[in-house]
């Protein structure tokens, strides 16, 4: 039996006190424990940013990579060994900004991994510039007259791209978030969980209380997760009511299944065959 404590790490956590990331970290541990996934069976991959530091703060295999590139790296890891259980921790800047192209293509490929986007609607680690999800009008040091670009809607874009698991969590609702992470990991295919995460240092707009007032749990609204049109409609809701939970879920063949590499075991476990190769070489 895996316990939450199995994930405790002695490495110093350096997030700001009160940061929404702590809630996400707890829910991750709880979900892993609930799924009986021990640290050594888990590979966490992240980009660069506050969110992307997450893997260091629990015990597991981890690859903390480059800003924006976590999903491409995870895709490669899956090609090498499709049996890996991969969770990606990314930020809104990391995933939807610098990494925008990989976000779209990981969805198109339906890479079997769980993507947690710690969406604090700001660039935290670089001290508070606007991110793609910052709401129009948000004032920052580098956007003194307010953000002017349309806020990036990850859920709608993911649905448009054919994602098979699209959910929103809130780091202030640990129970739900834990359930979502479990469901995401269980889902065979690409799972997006965009997590509303207050940044106490740089986002004075989207605070805990701002979210608390608005969050609506779809499960309690009896939302049917196989209703694509409805999911799409819900994905555009951002105002007085913000839906949380699984918007849409659909089972589809995964990337590595479609590649046709899952039946004979992971690519890295196959045998090198010199005779076969020599035959090809000698036939030239």
């Amino acid at each position: 039996m895996v316990t939450i404590q199995d994930f405790d790490s002695s490495y110093e956590n350096n997030w700001c006190p009160g940061c929404g990331n702590f809630g996400i970290l707890s829910s991750m541990k709880e979900a892993f424990a609930a799924l009986d996934l021990p640290p050594e069976k888990l590979l966490l991959i992240s980009g660069i940013g506050q969110a992307a530091k997450t893997p260091h703060f629990l015990k597991c295999n981890l690859f903390h990579t480059l800003h924006g590139r976590a999903l491409a790296i995870a895709t490669g890891a899956k090609m090498a060994n499709h049996e890996l259980t991969i969770v990606v921790n990314s930020g809104d800047g990391d995933c939807y900004g610098e990494g925008g192209n990989h976000f779209m293509n990981a969805i198109r490929r339906n890479v079997n991994l769980t993507l947690l986007v710690h969406n604090n609607k700001v660039y935290g680690l670089t001290k508070g510039q606007a991110s793609p999800t910052s709401d129009i009008g948000m004032v920052t040091k580098t956007q003194p007259h307010g953000v002017i670009a349309e806020s990036f809607n990850p859920l709608a874009v993911a649905l448009s791209l054919g994602a098979g698991f699209v959910a929103r969590g809130f780091s202030g609702d640990g129970k739900q978030l834990t359930r979502l992470i479990q469901a995401g990991i269980k889902h065979q295919g690409f799972s997006l969980i965009d997590i509303a995460q207050p940044c106490v240092s740089f986002n004075q707009v989207n605070t805990y209380s701002w979210y608390k007032k608005r969050m609506v749990d779809l499960e309690q609204e009896n939302h049917r997760t196989d209703d694509f049109q409805k999911a799409l409609e819900l994905s555009f809701l951002w105002g007085d009511k913000i839906p949380t939970g699984i918007l849409y879920q659909k089972q589809m063949p995964t990337f590595t299944e479609r590649l046709g590499i899952v039946k004979d075991g992971p690519i890295i476990r196959r045998k090198y065959d010199p005779l076969k190769l020599q035959k090809v070489l000698s036939a030239l």
Binding site: E40, R69, T75, N81, N101, I267, Y272, P274, V280
Partner: protein
């Protein structure tokens, strides 16, 4: 060389030059001849000007020849463009109505093809006619056609057989001054282009994951690899861009697969950040940069050697890497195989520098391509550790190399980051850790250097040495031969192992000669500058070409003579 014939097949893109070229090359190979054929085409799919220039010889050849003996012009436009390259007695085969003029052999290619069963067979007619002119027996082509078409439905095979025969027969009475007696020896080696050699070298290096974003002249490597992927334990994936391509490879390698990506300059630019990630996380990767002229999009389908200094210094800050540049398909095969080994052994990135000429040209590889009996891996697992729970991915060692475990492969946790880190892999901002890790990575240099092969030399003892790298190897060697035949003391030095720079070996060679010229396909003599920076020895002149076309041996001969006569004009030679 008793036989040394250049056949140029020229036509529009889409006219099937490649088919004619393939047939001729295969016939030559199967007859025990040597050959080297360059592919020259534009960045378009139909129309324009392309050619395949095939040099056939009874001796090994590794360079093209500018003088054309037989021009197969698939249209009038191409005849007009290229007939001036014909030697005095050369012949141009062309499908024209009316009287052929001097040096022309008018052959009703389309009509013969139509008679044989369809215009689609006109390339086969042309091939048959060529072989007839060259004096080859038609049987070999017939065999090739049978192999290729016998499983095709309908009359495809018979149409092609009669097309070949009709072209062959049609030229019976045309005299071609370079017709020769075909000895019909056994094949001298594999018929192979650089792209395929790299693909096969990757399999021989046990590459398991390959990614790419299409880009000339690198795409061919992956097309070959894809065609082999069903038979071998390898996945090939087209990425959304080059950034994804390189990072996928880093991820695959982190997870345990030997992995490679290939691209050209513009794509390499986009890979430089990922290159640094591989370096700081000590994740082995192989990147092929198939050079073409730049800057930016430049000349997408042409050849160049302009990226040497870029790939040696690419990515921020400093880290050990290998840079290797093959000059022939055999070298491409061997170097690619070795690249995976070196990358795995030292946990560093390896960059293979090739170019369009090497990638797209066909050669007869004299040396056999040999699959290694087994693959030495440099990976540890729990059973090789005293205490897996205390495993530290970046444990300091004298060699700088730390035992490398794989994630999710036992109790040992693998922790890695693109930030500077501690031995256990966690991010650290302490200056002590920084120094330890920089020193650890740099500690690999000496052993890496000891892996570097000394340059290959020809007549190393000569007064004058020609120093080059990459696909111009053949042209340089041949030019040295030519100069020696003219009584000059000229040798050559071919560098494949460029970084870490084999300083001692190069110094030893260059100190002996009285002068040396670098021969490069760029405009600033990059290898020359590298040699100067690394050894302190300055080249005495540079023979440079940067028009996108490969060197012809005679251009180098002329270059050498020009330098020497300039020296004469400007007083005595003294080394800088």
């Amino acid at each position: 060389m008793a036989v040394d014939i250049t056949v140029k097949i020229a036509g529009e893109a889409g006219q099937g030059i490649q088919t004619v070229g393939d047939f001729l090359s295969l016939v030559c190979q199967k007859s025990g001849l040597y050959l080297m054929g360059i592919n020259d085409f534009e960045s378009r799919i139909r129309g324009g000007y392309s050619f395949f220039q095939l040099r056939i010889s009874d001796q090994p050849v590794y360079a093209p020849c500018p003088e054309v003996d037989l021009l197969v012009a698939l249209n009038q436009k191409c005849y007009d463009a290229y007939h001036r390259e014909l030697t005095k007695e050369g012949l141009a085969m062309i499908d024209i109505q009316g009287e052929p003029i001097a040096n022309q052999a008018a052959i009703p290619i389309d009509a013969l093809a139509a008679k044989a069963g369809g215009k689609i067979a006109s390339n086969t007619v042309a091939a048959g006619a060529c072989l007839g002119l060259l004096g080859a027996p038609i049987q070999i082509l017939e065999g090739i056609l049978t192999d290729r078409f016998q499983s095709k439905p309908g009359n495809v095979l018979s149409m092609n057989l009669s097309a070949a025969r009709s072209g062959f027969d049609h030229v019976r009475d045309i005299r071609f001054f370079k017709k020769f007696e075909w000895k019909m020896e056994s094949s001298k080696g594999a018929l192979i282009d650089g792209s395929r050699a790299i693909a096969l070298g990757a399999l021989a290096g046990d590459c398991r994951v390959a990614t790419f974003y299409p880009m000339s002249p690198a795409t061919g490597i992956m097309t070959h690899l894809v065609s082999l992927a069903d038979e071998f334990p390898i996945v090939v994936e087209q990425a959304e861009d080059e950034i994804a391509a390189v990072n996928m490879v880093v991820g695959a390698s982190f997870a345990g697969a030997r992995a490679m990506t290939s691209t050209s300059g513009g794509g390499f630019c986009l890979m430089t950040e990922g290159l640094g990630l591989a370096a700081i996380t000590e994740t082995p990767i192989v990147i092929v940069n198939a050079q073409r002229p730049g800057p930016a999009t430049g000349l997408p389908t042409r050849t160049a050697q302009g990226d040497l200094m870029f790939v040696i210094h690419a990515s921020q800050d400093e880290f050990p890497r290998f840079v290797l540049a093959p000059g022939t398909p055999v070298e491409a095969f061997e170097i690619t195989k070795r690249a995976f080994h070196l990358s795995d052994k030292y946990q560093v990135p390896v960059i293979i520098l090739t170019d369009q000429t090497l990638n797209d040209s066909v050669y007869i590889s004299e040396k056999p391509l040999v699959a290694p009996q087994n693959i030495e891996r440099f990976i540890v697992n729990d059973s090789q550790m005293e205490s897996p729970s205390e495993y530290r991915r970046f444990a300091v060692s004298e060699s700088g190399i730390s035992p490398r475990a794989l994630p999710c492969n036992g109790k040992a946790l693998v922790i890695a980051t693109g930030n500077e880190h501690r031995e256990d892999g966690h991010t650290s901002e302490a200056d002590s850790d920084r120094i330890i890790m920089m020193n650890k990575r740099n500690a690999k240099w000496p052993a890496m250097l000891s892996e570097m092969n000394a340059p290959e030399t020809d007549h190393e003892e000569s007064d004058i040495l020609l120093v080059g790298w990459g696909s111009s190897k053949g042209a340089i060697q041949e030019s040295a031969d030519l100069l020696r035949k003219q009584g000059m003391s000229v040798g050559c030095v071919h560098m494949t192992d460029l970084w870490p720079f084999p300083e001692e070996a190069v110094k030893k060679i260059l100190e002996k000669c009285s002068r040396f010229f670098v021969v490069e396909q760029n405009s600033t003599a990059q290898l020359g500058k590298l040699i100067r920076g690394q050894t302190g020895i300055a080249h005495d002149g540079a023979i440079l070409k940067y028009d996108g076309r490969p060197f012809f041996p005679n251009e180098i001969v002329e270059g050498v003579k020009k330098h020497l006569s300039m020296e004469k004009d400007h007083g005595n030679h003294s080394r800088l």
